[in-house]
């Protein structure tokens, strides 16, 4: 069960090797979390992540999960929930893709969408139903500012996050009153291995800052969290910039 500050005792991270996912898990384990499930494609990185959390004192288990294989989600995630209540699900998987290549190779662009969007729909719905049966729990979904308004430089990734964001908002409204809390997290540019080598955008942030914002959001039972917080103001201005001007902005 979550405590009065929204800190979960059990956590399921979808995308178990995700840097933001792990930074959040570490933060929560230090506070309260005892049981952590890391769901991801079996890999040395996943095992390493599990070992790191075990060192902090958590009871960590890994389970195979592939966003691109939605048929397996119901069964695979069902097994996790059958083992006991999950207080928080963190939907942290996602790929950035390579905009230039993806524009030339439609199939690789589709893979970005399938991972970030349709993969999240199936796993998100499976988890939402399980949480609803429990009558409690938080579903935290990592969206992105890139989904707020599509930009020339990364609209394939951005469109997938836009879909994910809209889906999560709708799901949150659908689950309102069921005891399940759904939170959209919209980080700006996060310095991590996913963005290594990319030119840093203004107001960039770190996985640890996102983790801290998630912890605060849980305490406040927020529905939307921007990281850093001032992005909310910036993006609500950018959203209304006319297209001809927006196109020319160096972002």
């Amino acid at each position: 069960m979550k405590d009065a500050f929204g800190t979960p005792q059990s956590l399921l991270v979808l995308g178990g090797a995700s840097e933001i996912g792990l930074a959040t898990a570490r933060r929560l384990v230090v506070r309260r979390t005892r049981t952590v499930w890391l769901a991801g494609r079996p890999s040395p990185a996943l095992d390493e992540a599990a070992a790191g959390l075990r060192d902090l004192g958590a009871d960590v288990r890994t389970t195979a999960f592939d966003a691109l294989d939605p048929e397996s989600h119901e069964e695979g995630l069902g097994k996790v929930f059958a083992e006991g209540d999950i207080d928080m699900v963190l939907l942290a998987f996602g790929v950035l893709g390579d905009q230039a290549r993806d524009e030339d190779e439609p199939l690789s662009a589709v893979r970005v969408a399938q991972t970030n969007y349709t993969g999240a729909i199936s796993s998100g719905l499976v988890c939402a139903r399980a949480l609803q049966t429990q009558g409690h729990g938080s579903l935290v979904v990592l969206s992105s500012v890139a989904g707020e308004r599509a930009r020339r430089s990364n609209f394939i990734y951005g469109s997938s996050k836009a879909g994910l964001d809209a889906f999560t908002q709708g799901l949150g409204d659908a689950l309102h009153g069921t005891g399940v809390h759904v939170m959209v997290v919209r980080p700006g540019f996060v310095r991590s291995k996913m963005t290594a080598g990319l030119e840093e955008a203004p107001m960039s942030t770190t996985p640890d800052a996102v983790a801290a914002a998630i912890e605060t959001g849980l305490r406040r039972r927020s529905e939307t969290v921007w990281v850093p917080g001032k992005l909310r103001v910036v993006m609500s201005a950018l959203r209304h910039v006319p297209r001809p001007l927006f196109r020319r902005l160096p972002i």
């Binding site: 069960m1 405590d3 506070r31 429990q134 009558g135 409690h136 005891g179 605060t216 039972r221």
Partner: protein, 459 residues
């Protein structure tokens, strides 16, 4: 199901939280109106179990059950018999102490123990084994319960008397042994419905402890409001209010109260609004309140006549006062450390005061003998209760540190107020926890009785 079916109580799915309004979860709320309906509800609950709930005054998650059933016991609200000669009452578990006072005071009787609110049920009073300002002389509530009927997981009703294991597990057992249906309670005789109150100020924590230690035994009721924001030399400055039921001859000769000395008129202010902005109770506003509250108290005043509601239940005058903390809610932290562990108490008070936790409802009290309930909270020593807005950054980690201090001093925190304790801390604080778990495993192998509290702390 036909509407007139007698066996199934009405139910609805609702979001349930404790008085602190943190961590709400959703449950099916079942409202049995008879003992038979209660038994049907217990036998009919699903695999996520059920838990009895009274008036929802537990601060944390004791009376919530995510995804399962919550039995709203306020439908069982009949006072069965009152023995006005012997001073006992037999009533349903859903009867509130407020109602008991309305019924009993005109007959010259008072409830044996009342907490800071009248709006708790008899069932809840036993389940949390509540204490009041008279604990140092009278013990906790269950010590005045002569018998109770408990509905257990098998649907049977057992009559329990004090001194038996199931009685002692149920007293303070947070509703996890079964559903209390009714109880026989021994009452306190009174001549009037007024209190005779002595008020004095203590300039700091040591002064307060010295005054309480020296003269507490002279008073039936004793408590101290403590200013936890005061720092330095004033740390722990307090207002002691101690007293007893006023005897008839204490009322002034021609006073109106003389004509109806047992009248019970609590009075009520308008309710707190349903929306209150967050952060209203910050360090500055609470600091100002505390300063005024301390200054307005007389340095020394004896024999003041106060209404029962003023003395015991000042907050009941404002319905829904818990809303003043805004949407984020608040946590109550109450712990006890034994006599001889005053240093731990001092350290905790110092840490709270140095951190500047905005708490305006902090009270310190001396407990008397420990109670027989296995999970009863009181033990001989000092208990401090305070409430803090839950949205205070870093509060979770800070309270964890206080837990460490309390545990190191062989103290404990109060489950009826808890919403955030680390499960690992529990066994050290409640030495009979294993007995409790064993009894539950035997009595309720399917785990019918479950709450968010029992899940969170693995009770």
């Amino acid at each position: 199901m036909p509407a007139d079916s007698p066996s199934v109580a009405p139910f609805e799915a609702v979001s349930v939280s404790g008085w602190g309004r943190t961590a709400p979860t959703t449950a099916r709320l079942v409202r049995p109106r008879t003992q038979e309906e209660a038994a049907a509800a217990v036998l009919g609950c699903g695999e996520r179990g059920g838990i009895a709930r009274g008036l929802g005054r537990a601060y944390g998650d004791a009376a919530q059950n995510a995804g399962g059933d919550v039995f709203d016991m306020t439908g069982l609200d009949r006072v069965h018999t009152i023995d006005a000669d012997a001073g006992t009452v037999v009533c349903d578990a859903g009867v509130s102490l407020h109602h008991l006072m309305e019924v009993l005071l005109p007959l010259g009787w008072f409830v044996p123990v009342t907490p800071g609110t009248r709006y708790v049920t008899v069932g809840g009073a036993i389940g949390a084994d509540i204490h009041g300002k008279n604990h140092h002389g009278s013990g906790a509530f269950a010590r005045h319960v002569l018998a109770m009927d408990l509905l257990t997981a098998d649907g049977a009703v057992r009559t329990l008397v004090p001194g038996t294991p199931l009685f002692d597990a149920t007293a303070g057992g947070m509703g996890l042994t079964g559903v209390i249906l009714s109880a026989t309670v021994r009452l306190q005789p009174v001549e009037t419905s007024l209190m005779s109150v002595d008020t004095e100020r203590a300039t700091d924590l040591d002064d307060l402890m010295a005054r309480l230690t020296a003269t507490d035994h002279r008073y039936r009721y004793s408590v101290a409001w403590i200013d936890l924001l005061a720092r330095g030399a004033a740390m722990g400055r307090s207002v002691l209010t101690r007293g007893d039921h006023a005897p008839l001859d204490a009322l002034p000769a021609r006073a109106r109260a003389r004509r109806a000395p047992l009248a019970f008129r609590p009075g009520q202010l308008p309710a707190a609004p349903s929306f209150v902005p967050e952060g209203l109770l910050g360090r500055r506003s609470v600091g100002l309140f505390n300063e005024l509250w301390y200054r307005k108290a007389p340095r020394w005043r004896t024999g003041e006549l106060q209404k029962i509601s003023t003395f015991f239940h000042p907050l009941d005058g404002v319905p829904h006062w818990n809303r003043v903390y805004g949407r984020g809610g608040f946590v109550q932290y109450q712990f006890v450390v034994g006599y001889g562990k005053e240093e731990a108490l001092r350290r905790v008070v110092r840490r709270i005061s140095e951190r500047g936790c905005p708490s305006f409802l902090a009270v310190l009290k001396r407990f008397g003998d420990a109670d027989p309930g296995w999970l009863s909270f009181p033990m001989p020593g000092w208990t401090l209760a305070l409430d803090i807005p839950a949205n205070l950054p870093g509060l979770g980690a800070f309270l964890d540190e206080l837990d460490e201090e309390v545990a190191a001093a062989d103290g404990r925190v109060y489950l009826a107020k808890d919403s955030r304790l680390r499960p690992e801390m529990l066994a050290g604080m409640y030495p009979r926890l294993d007995d409790f778990r064993a009894l539950r495993a035997e009595l309720d192998p399917r785990g019918v009785f479950r709450s968010d509290l029992s899940r969170r702390l693995a009770l």
